[in-house]
């Protein structure tokens, strides 16, 4: 059982790390600000989400698990808000707020 959980953790954390790699490559290689923003949100949401998912399997006690989920939810909320705000400033000619 523990072996299976460890294997799942390794899988999830590796996939999350891959999403961080993909996000960084996209941030460096994509041609314009809006498409770079698109890769950034993938790294934020999926990369961190998969790493949290992997760590959830290793955690002991419900309180620690809730804390991990809180970190992820907070990042999701912040990421979604921030992506909208940056997109508004990055849009040609657009600079409201």
């Amino acid at each position: 059982m523990s072996l299976a959980l460890d294997a799942l953790t390794i899988l999830a954390v590796s996939t999350g790390a891959f999403f961080f790699l993909a996000g960084t490559v996209g941030l460096l290689r994509f041609p314009d600000a809006l498409s770079r923003l698109h890769t950034l949100t993938k790294a934020d949401n999926l990369g961190l989400g998969l790493i949290v998912l992997g760590l959830l399997l290793q955690v002991e006690g419900p309180f620690a698990a809730l804390k991990l989920i809180a970190v992820w939810l907070l990042t999701l909320l912040a990421g979604a808000t921030v992506a909208q705000l940056i997109a508004r400033t990055a849009r040609p000619g657009g600079r409201p707020v």
Binding site: D6, T9, I10, V13, S14, G16, A17, F20, L21, G23, T24, L27, L28, A33, R36, L37, L40, A43, D44, G47, L48, I51, V52, L55, Q58, V59, A64, K67, L68, A70, V71, L74, T75, L77, A78, G79, T81, V82, L85, I86, R88, T89, A90, G93, R95, P96, V97
Partner: protein, 89 residues
Amino acid sequence: MADFLLAAAGFVLATVAMGLFRILRGPGDDDRIMAAQLLSTGGIAALLLLAAAMSVPAAVDVALILAVLAAFITVAFVKGAPRSEADRA
């Protein structure tokens, strides 16, 4: 398991640090703040991995604080950045 988590933390940090080239190159302030945003998310992920790898539960609290502060960075940027000429009209 701890070794793997430690290696993953190092990998994520190294990856995200490469994103700092975008801060160097720009071209716009938006791109720079995006790289900073990626760095903060990567820092959160690395802290969570370190907390599990080295059994330091307090690192999760640090990650929680970083998650809150990361949102404020960008909101402060959007609110405080100088407005372009087109908007003043």
